[in-house]
C-alpha cells in the first residue's frame, strides 16, 4: 500500500515559499504533474519566468520540505515556466492581448544609454528562453534599427481577414520602430495626438504573436509618449536607467515622480556607465562617480537591478547592429545583462500578483 499520499506531499510543499512573491508554491498553483508511485515522487515546479534567478533555491527548499515524509524513495523535481501577465490599467484598451508583460525602459534625461540597455535586456530575456519582442517608442531618436542591424522594412501580412505589419526579426527578436517608416535623416516633428496615433499603430497594427515580454525603448523625459502610455495603453511597469552622477539622478527622481503620479509600477532601476576597467592597467575608473543610482533606489525603496560598466565593445558592436549579449554571451558584461534580466523578470512576477488590485474598478450607473 502506498504510504506516501498526494495530500501529504502537497501539505509539505505548502511550506515552500516563492522567494519573490512570498506565498507558498502550492497555493500559487506552481506545482504541476504530481505523480507518486511506489514511493517515487515526481512533479514539475512551474516558475513564473524562465529567467527565474531562484530555481536552485526552490529546488533545495522542496527537497528539504519533503525530507520529513517517510517512505519517499526517490524524488524527481523538474522545472517549467509559465510567464504570468502583469499588465494593468483599467482605463486602457489592451492593444496587445497576446503579450503578457509590457516593460517600459525609461529615463529622466537622454544620453544614459537607454536604447543600448533596452536591446540587451530584450536579447538577455530571449536567451533565458522567454518569448520577447522589442518596440522602439523613441519617436524623436529611433536608434533601435541601427542597434539591431535591421535594414528591411516591415511586411504586410494577412491576419484574421485583415492586414497587419509583420515586424522584422533580428537576433531572434521581433522588432518594431517608427524609424522603419522614416526616410534616413528625417526628423519626426509631431504634436501629441499624432504621436499617440503612431504608438497605437506600432502596437495594435503589428502582428507581434505570443510574447512573454515586450521591451519598450522610451524617449527620454516626461512628455507626450509617456502620457499616452499612462492614459491609453496597458503596461506592466517601468525600468529606470540612470548614470551615476548626482545631476543625472535629479532627472531620475523626476521620472519616478511621473510614474508614481500615473500609478505605473516602477520595476527597478539600472545604473549604466557605472565604471570603466582599463584594458591597459586593469584599474577600475569610476568616470561618472559611482553608486548614485543604488543610493536613489534605497532612498525610494525601488529594487536595484544592477550596474552596467562602460565597455568599448558595447558601443562598437552596437554601431554594427549586434547587441553585446548576442555577440559575446560569455563576457562579463553579458553576465551583468543576463542577471539584470533575471531580476527584472523576478520583479515582474511580483507585480503580476499585485496588478490584480488595479484591475478591479467597476463603473456602474443605477
Amino acid at each position: 500500500m502506498e504510504t506516501v499520499t498526494r495530500d501529504l506531499v502537497l501539505e509539505a510543499l505548502k511550506k515552500v515559499e516563492d522567494p519573490e512573491i512570498h506565498r507558498d508554491i502550492v497555493s500559487l498553483g506552481m506545482v504541476k504533474d504530481l505523480e507518486i508511485a511506489n514511493g517515487k515522487v515526481a512533479f514539475t515546479v512551474e516558475l513564473t519566468t524562465p529567467a527565474c534567478p531562484l530555481r536552485e533555491r526552490i529546488h533545495d527548499d522542496c527537497k528539504q520540505a519533503l525530507a520529513g515524509i517517510e517512505g519517499i524513495t526517490a524524488l524527481d523535481i523538474s522545472f517549467g515556466a509559465q510567464v504570468r501577465g502583469s499588465k494593468s490599467g483599467a482605463g486602457q484598451t489592451d492593444l496587445l492581448p497576446t503579450v503578457k508583460n509590457v516593460v517600459l525602459v525609461a529615463s529622466g534625461k537622454g544620453g544614459v544609454g537607454k536604447s543600448t540597455v533596452a536591446v540587451n535586456l530584450a536579447a538577455a530575456l530571449k536567451m533565458h528562453g522567454a518569448a520577447t519582442g522589442l518596440l522602439d517608442a523613441d519617436i524623436y531618436g529611433p536608434s533601435v534599427p541601427i542597434l539591431m542591424g535591421i535594414k528591411e522594412e516591415p511586411q504586410k501580412v494577412s491576419v484574421n481577414g485583415g492586414f497587419k505589419l509583420a515586424p522584422p526579426i533580428a537576433h531572434n527578436l521581433p522588432v518594431m520602430s517608427i524609424g522603419f517608416f522614416l526616410e534616413p535623416d528625417q526628423a519626426v516633428i509631431w504634436r501629441g495626438p499624432m504621436l499617440g496615433k503612431a504608438l497605437h499603430q506600432l502596437m495594435g497594427d503589428v502582428h507581434w504573436g505570443d510574447l512573454d515580454y515586450l521591451v519598450v525603448d522610451m524617449p527620454p523625459g516626461t512628455g507626450d509618449v509617456q502620457i499616452t502610455f499612462s492614459q491609453q495603453l496597458k503596461v506592466s511597469g517601468a525600468v529606470l536607467v540612470a548614470t551615476p552622477q548626482d545631476v543625472a539622478l535629479a532627472d531620475v527622481i523626476r521620472a519616478k515622480s511621473m510614474f508614481d503620479k500615473v500609478m505605473i509600477p516602477i520595476i527597478g532601476i539600472i545604473e549604466n556607465m557605472s565604471y570603466f576597467v582599463c584594458d591597459g592597467c586593469g584599474k577600475r575608473h569610476e568616470i561618472f562617480s559611482r553608486g548614485g543610482a543604488q543610493r536613489a533606489a534605497e532612498r525610494f525603496k525601488i529594487p536595484f537591478l544592477g550596474e552596467v560598466p562602460i565597455i568599448p565593445s558595447i558601443r562598437e558592436w552596437g554601431d554594427k547592429g549586434v547587441p553585446i549579449v548576442v555577440r559575446e554571451p560569455n563576457s562579463e558584461v553579458s553576465k551583468v545583462f543576463l542577471q539584470i534580466a533575471s531580476r527584472l523578470a523576478g520583479q515582474l512576477s511580483v507585480i503580476s500578483e499585485t496588478s490584480r488590485r488595479a484591475q478591479s474598478l467597476k463603473i456602474i450607473s443605477s
Binding site: A90, M263, A358, L361, K362, I363, I364
Partner: protein
Amino acid sequence: MANPIPVEINHMKEKGLVRITWDDGHVGDYPRDYLRGYCPCASCQGHGGGIKFISVPDAKLAEISAVGNYAILFQWQDGHSTGIYTFEFLRALCPCPGCKESNPHAEK
C-alpha cells in the same frame, strides 16, 4: 500601505450623486454639482495654484471612464470633458462628514 484606490464608482442618477467605494472600505457620496465645481482641468482651474470651486448649476453627467491606472474622467452633458480626476484628488475631495474637516479643497 499604498494609497487607496476606488473599487466601484456608482452614478446614482435619481439621487444626483456619484458614490465612490474605496479599497480601504471607505465610501463617499459626491453630489454631481460638487464634482463639476471642482473640475481639475486647466480651463476650469487655470495655472494659478490652489483649487477653486466654480459653480456650474444642474450639471449632468454623460459618461464616467477610467484613465490609466490613476484617474477618472467625468464627461458632462454640456460637452465638458477635460477633467481628469486623479484618485488622490478624488479622495481628498471626499465630502463625507469625516473627511470634510481635513479636506484641503473644501471652502464651506
